[in-house]
Each structure stands twice: as structure tokens, then as C-alpha cells.
């Protein structure tokens, strides 16, 4: 039994902020009312004065690295990192070894998660067998086993005909196709955004068209097939313009971007910082502005972390050899709060849409709600806490955060999933 006192409840932009106490009994919210008084020896009281209480978050795109790369992360460590960041539902991408391209691996991931994860792990199946971009994988069988979407993330399905078939086929199973948009002929050998910084440092650049060319292609394919296309980790202004246009056309397209694309630019790479090497690469101020604008007007539906752990030794190499990716669960909320709410005046309730309502809608899941008789899935956030991202505080096995050394505002203090406390006052309890 948990009693949260003086909660500032925010369920999303359509609902008002509510000041009340929340009583949690077992896995459910039993009562929301002002000044709940209760006598119970097992009662845990959490004082939430001056803090926000949000429904817990859902991440549509992350990498847990199990099976195959457990030295970077495994289902357990990744889940704990997610929990630390306030995420209680996460979708893990299939680029494991072996990849999640058949029902047995889906079953394995689901089974492992049930054993070791304190949160909900939903696998994403591969579009093509072995992520090879040649033959469709057994999407139907995988759906039966529990996948919520398909994606060859990390790779782009370069064959347009195959992508078209994937969209058509996925429609039969009512799941979205999550597209990693990257024309590999354009991006080949590229290390960072093709632009000012690549010119200064002499690093081979990835032109922005590597992304937007495929965004345009996939939009046209989705228009024709009427399938649900979800474009992940959008990073450029042109991609946004194309998606905006597609939505006006009525194409069944949704998209996400990641915390680092709305907060950082290619400048982060100066000094050959391999932690700032991500794919797609960090772009420019103009792109950051365009993405923030697209969040405001709803063209961007949700935020994905693209949590991509890599071992320290793998990042401490020459720039070209370093793998792309940053860990992201634990900084996601604070980055969004710092760069959208604090800097750009976005309504804080919009974050609930980006991190709960919309990603769940895209995945055909019911949103978490802080209401009586709903599952107790919620987070308590201190908006006034300023903290510095430090390697030693990261819960994930890997410490390759693009935000290391950065100061962020707001902190996910307490996380409750199905009535269980996973994190309390900043300390992990699971």
C-alpha cells in the first residue's frame, strides 16, 4: 500500500492538472482525492509536494543487446536503466545476434524479460531475415509470439519493392513498420553530418539527403499501400517537411525523434568525441529548431530514446572505428524538460503525449492514466533539481552518454510500475 501525498498529477494535455493524494493498493490506483488519511502499518508514504506525477513512459525504440552482445547491455541491465529513467514499457530493436527475426527469438526475449525485467519489454521483429534486406521474415508467427512492430533498424531496407511488400504484409497483421531511413549509397563511409564540422575536422560526411531521400520514398510507398509507416529517429528539417506534407495528404505515417536531436548539434563532435557519434548524425541548429517546431505542432508524434549502449573500449578508439549510438533512457526526460519546457516554454503536459499517449497509440496499446481503478504506473519528477550527467551514476552497463558532463534540469525521482516501487527518491529499489 502506497500513499502519494500532495501530488501534482498531469495526465496529458487534454486533462487538467490535478492536485490530490494518490492511494495505491496492490497493482492499482484505488483512490485519488485531496487529503487521504489512512491507518495501515504497511503503508508507505511518499511526499510529492512541489513535484509532478506523470503516467510512466513508453519507449518505442531502444537496444537491449541480448542475445549476443551482453557485454554492452542485457535485458536485465537495460530494463533497470529504463526504469531509472521512468520508462516502464520499452520496445527493443531486433539487431541482436542472432537477430530477432523468428518466433523462437521473440519467445526467448519475452521469456527472459519475464524472468529478469521489472518492466514490460516488447520486442520488435525484423522486417527481413537476418536483417539482410532480401527476404521477408515470418512476421505473422512473430506477431503471434508478441512483437508489436517490425523494423530492420540500424539498416535501411534499400530494395524499394521489398519495402513496399513489407508494408503490405505488415498491414495484414496490424502492426507498424518502423523505418530506419538511410540511403546507404549516400551515407557510405560517412562519420558525422556532412557540413561545417565535417569540413573543419576532415571527417567524411553523411549528407542530410541520405535520410530524407528514403523518408520521401517510404512516404510514397505508405501512401500507395495505406499501411502504417513509422519513421524513427528523424533528424533533418527536410524529413520533417516531407512528413508534414504526407500527413496533410492523409498518409498513415507517424514519426519520432530522439532527445539528442532536439538538444545538440554537430558541434558536439569537435575534439573527435566518439560519444557524440550517433546514427543518424547530429545535425545543425536549423534542424534542431525545425524538430522542436514539429514537436509543437504535432508533426512529431513521440520521442524515442534510441538507447544504444556500447562498451567503453568500443568507443575509446579512432573516430572511424567507433560504433554509433548513445545510451538514452536515464537522461531522456530531463533533456526534454530542459530543452523543451525550460528553454522553449513548451507545456509540460505535452511531454506526457510524447512519452506515453502517442507512442502507445502508435503501438496499439492503451495509454497509462493516473485514474482510479487504473494500473499504478507512474513517475514522480522533481522539476527543480539540477544535475550533471556523470558516468558513475549511469545504471546501464554502458556509459556512452552523449550528455556526459552536461547540466540538466528535472529529475525522475520515483518510479512505480503495477504498484511496485522500482525507484524511490533517486535510489533504485529493484
Amino acid at each position: 500500500m502506497i500513499l502519494i501525498k500532495n501530488a501534482n498529477i498531469i495526465n496529458g494535455s487534454t486533462k487538467d492538472t490535478q492536485k490530490a493524494d494518490i492511494l495505491i493498493v496492490d497493482d492499482k490506483i484505488e483512490k485519488i482525492a485531496p487529503d487521504i488519511e489512512i491507518e495501515n502499518p504497511g503503508l508507505k508514504i511518499i511526499d510529492a509536494t512541489g513535484k509532478y506525477v506523470f503516467p510512466s513512459f513508453t519507449d518505442i525504440h531502444c537496444h537491449l543487446r541480448e542475445p549476443g552482445f551482453e557485454y554492452k547491455e542485457d535485458i536485465k541491465s537495460g530494463s533497470l536503466s529504463a526504469a531509472a529513467g521512468g520508462f516502464t514499457t520499452i520496445c527493443c530493436m531486433p539487431n541482436t545476434n542472432p537477430p530477432i527475426d523468428n518466433r523462437a527469438i521473440v519467445a526467448y526475449v519475452k521469456y527472459r524479460a519475464k524472468e529478469v525485467s521489472p518492466i514490460e519489454v516488447l520486442p520488435v521483429g525484423a522486417i527481413t531475415k537476418g536483417l539482410n534486406g532480401e527476404e521477408l521474415s515470418e512476421i505473422g508467427f512473430m506477431k503471434q509470439e508478441g512483437i508489436v512492430a517490425i523494423s530492420d533498424d540500424g539498416k535501411c531496407v534499400m530494395n524499394a519493392n521489398l519495402m513496399r511488400n513489407a508494408l503490405l504484409y505488415a498491414k495484414d497483421f496490424s502492426i507498424p513498420v518502423i523505418s530506419h531511413c538511410e540511403d546507404t549509397n549516400l551515407s557510405e563511409g560517412g562519420q558525422i553530418n556532412l557540413g561545417l564540422v565535417s569540413t573543419v575536422l576532415g571527417l567524411r560526411g553523411i549528407p542530410r539527403e541520405a535520410e530524407s531521400v528514403i523518408v520521401a520514398r517510404d512516404i510514397l510507398l505508405a501512401k500507395e499501400t495505406k499501411a502504417h509507416l513509422h519513421i524513427t529517429h528523424v533528424s533533418t528539417k527536410e524529413s520533417i517537411e516531407l512528413i508534414r506534407m504526407a500527413k496533410e495528404w492523409g498518409v498513415n505515417v507517424t514519426c519520432d525523434t530522439c532527445p539528442h536531436y532536439i538538444s545538440l548539434t554537430e558541434e558536439e563532435v569537435m575534439g573527435f568525441n566518439t560519444n557524440a557519434k550517433v546514427n543518424p548524425p547530429l545535425r545543425t541548429e536549423e534542424d534542431v529548431e525545425a524538430l522542436i517546431e514539429a514537436i509543437k505542432d504535432g508533426v512529431i508524434d513521440c520521442i524515442a530514446t534510441d538507447h544504444a549502449p556500447h562498451h567503453k573500449d568500443e568507443k575509446n578508439v579512432e573516430f572511424n572505428l567507433a560504433p554509433s549510438g548513445t545510451v538514452g533512457f536515464e537522461t531522456a526526460f530531463a533533456v526534454l524538460y530542459t530543452f523543451l519546457v525550460k528553454k522553449k516554454g513548451l507545456d509540460v503536459s505535452k511531454l506526457v503525449e510524447l512519452l506515453n499517449i502517442n507512442p502507445r497509440r502508435i503501438l496499439n496499446l492503451k495509454p497509462n492514466m493516473i485514474e482510479e481503478n487504473q494500473k499504478a504506473n507512474l513517475v514522480i519528477v522533481d522539476p527543480n533539481r539540477e544535475w550533471e550527467v556523470k558516468e558513475e551514476d549511469i545504471v546501464s552497463k554502458s556509459k556512452n552518454s552523449i550528455f556526459l558532463g552536461k547540466k540538466l534540469f528535472s529529475f525522475v525521482e520515483t518510479v512505480i510500475y503495477e504498484g511496485k516501487i522500482l525507484k524511490k527518491d533517486g535510489e533504485m529499489e529493484c
Binding site: 576532415g202 571527417l203 575509446n316 573516430f319 572511424n320
Partner: protein
């Protein structure tokens, strides 16, 4: 000066310090014995992941003229695939009591990466497409020696700017002395936003006309396979310092080239034989400049 990684992070004063010292070093080069004790007891290692007989020989001679113990390690880039990481190599060099490492690597930033992970001095002998600081320093030394000054000159750099570490180091270095730098080359070989740092000429004539210095760059013929140029014949016709263009180049204009030259691709033999062409002098000056750099990198700074 602990390391020499590039000219972008070097101040004008530091550059002048190197060039002034190189002048003294050149006197030693001209003497009969060509030996000084400046680096006696120091261990200088050259580690080249890319072949370059010129640069390596130049560095080795510079170190030997100053009485250093020198060793050279050739590493086929394939050893990276065999599992020996650059970091492991750095640790080995550390254990071998290296004082100065001269490194050439195909990856931009490799010299910076080593400097971040070691206690010895690192001299960048070319990292990917990033910088080749000693080449630019010897170019600047040659310009100053020939023209008597290094400031407020009109300088053109011709060729593959995109992939050229020589061009980058020269741009960063020359810009610190208020020189007007212009670049020209095929559009496919010009990096984006280069016009933020230098002028971009719209023709080869415009690029070479009324210049104090023309630096011509080596063209890698494998660019043809990557679809960046069509053929060496076409390159010579439109972008090479050929007979047609030579009439636009004043006889007072210094013509420079980092070598080795592709004759008849980026420059004609006739132009190479002109008295204002400094290719050979550049090689000699390279040793002097590298002696200066080695000297400065091995001095413990008092402050």
C-alpha cells in the same frame, strides 16, 4: 609545446616560434657534419599506418641529425582487423619508453586520440583528411623565405580540397596571418561551407591570376572510382596546371606542391621546371621545420 596535432589549435606566436627556430635548423642542415646534440638520449618513434616515404624519411633524418634514437614501425592497416587496437599499440609504445611519437594514420583524429591516451609527445604526420601540420609549416617557411613575408599575401590552393589534410592545415595556418586564401577544384572535391573560411574561385584562371602563391595538391586517382572525377585526362585539361593556364600565372608567383607529383595530371613538367616552382626546396625545408618541431616538443616548459 607538448604535442603538434594541427595548426587549427596553434597560435600565431607558436607558429612563428617554430618557423624562426627552423631557420636556425636550416643552418645546421647546411653545415658539413649535420649533427647536433639536441635530442641526445631521446627515443623517437615513427608509426606509419599509411605509406609515405617522403614524410617518414624527412622526420627520421630530422631526428637523426639531432642525435635521437629512432625506430620506425610500419603497420599494415590490416593489423587493426587482426585485433591489435591502436590503444594497445599506444600502451606498448609507452612501455618501450617512447619520448616522441610521429604518427601517420588514415583516420581523422587518430593523432588526437593517441595524445589523449598517452604520456609521450605526439607529432601528427597526417591524420586522415584532417591535418598535416608539418607540411603546412614547411610551406609557410618556404613562402616566408622566398617572399620575405608571410602576411597579407594572396594564396590559391588548387585541387582536391575535400580530402586534403595539407589544404586544411595550410588554410588554418595561413589564415592566422591575414592572408587571402582562395581555393579551386572540381565541385565534387570541395567540402561544404568551405566558403566560410576561404574564397572559392569560379574558374582556374581566376584562381591562379594575381596570386603570390599557388599551392597545387596531389590528386588521388582512386577518386575516379568513387565517382568524384571522370578521368585524369579530363582533370588535367580542366583543373591541372597545364600549358593553357601557365600564361595566367605570373613568373613571380610561387608554385608549390606537397609531392609526390602526378606529372601530366595535376601539373605539367614544364611548370615544374620553372624557377618559381619550389617543390625541391620544400623537401629540404621540411627537414628543418621537423627539426624545430622535434626540438620544441622535447623541451619541458617552465611555466
Amino acid at each position: 609545446m607538448k604535442h603538434l596535432l594541427g595548426l587549427r589549435d596553434l597560435s600565431k606566436e607558436e607558429i612563428l616560434k617554430i618557423l624562426n627556430l627552423a631557420k636556425d635548423m636550416k643552418l645546421i642542415l647546411k653545415s658539413e657534419t649535420k649533427k647536433t646534440p639536441h635530442l641526445q638520449g631521446y627515443s623517437v618513434v615513427t608509426l606509419f599506418y599509411e605509406n609515405s616515404t617522403r614524410t617518414r624519411t624527412s622526420f627520421e633524418l630530422a631526428a637523426k641529425f639531432m642525435s635521437a634514437n629512432t625506430t620506425s614501425i610500419s603497420v599494415a592497416t590490416s593489423s587493426v582487423q587482426k585485433g591489435e587496437s591502436l590503444l594497445d599499440t599506444v600502451r606498448t609504445l609507452e612501455a618501450l619508453k617512447t619520448d616522441v611519437l610521429i604518427v601517420r594514420h588514415s583516420v581523422s583524429g587518430a593523432a588526437h586520440f593517441i595524445a589523449k591516451n598517452c604520456s609521450f609527445s605526439v607529432i601528427n604526420a597526417g591524420d586522415g583528411m584532417n591535418e598535416h601540420p608539418t607540411q603546412a609549416l614547411l610551406d609557410m617557411f618556404t613562402i616566408r623565405e622566398r617572399l620575405g613575408k608571410l602576411e597579407k599575401l594572396k594564396i590559391a590552393i588548387i585541387g582536391d580540397i575535400l580530402h586534403s589534410r595539407v589544404a586544411r592545415s595550410n588554410i588554418w595556418g595561413l589564415k592566422k596571418f591575414e592572408n587571402e586564401v582562395t581555393v579551386y577544384g572540381p565541385r565534387t572535391l570541395l567540402p561544404p561551407f568551405i566558403d566560410k573560411f576561404v574564397n572559392v574561385a569560379s574558374s582556374l584562371e581566376e584562381a591562379v591570376c594575381n596570386k603570390d602563391v599557388v599551392i597545387d595538391l596531389r590528386i588521388q586517382l582512386e577518386r575516379q572510382k568513387r565517382g568524384l572525377i571522370s578521368s585524369k585526362y579530363e582533370y588535367y585539361e580542366f583543373f591541372g596546371l597545364n600549358e593553357d593556364i601557365s600564361k595566367f600565372i605570373s613568373k613571380d608567383t610561387l608554385i608549390m606542391h606537397p609531392g609526390p607529383v602526378n606529372r601530366g595530371v595535376e601539373i605539367s613538367s614544364e611548370i615544374m621546371n620553372l624557377p618559381n616552382c619550389t617543390i625541391e626546396e620544400q623537401v629540404t625545408n621540411g627537414i628543418a621545420v621537423r627539426m624545430a618541431v622535434l626540438y620544441l616538443c622535447t623541451r619541458k616548459e617552465v611555466n
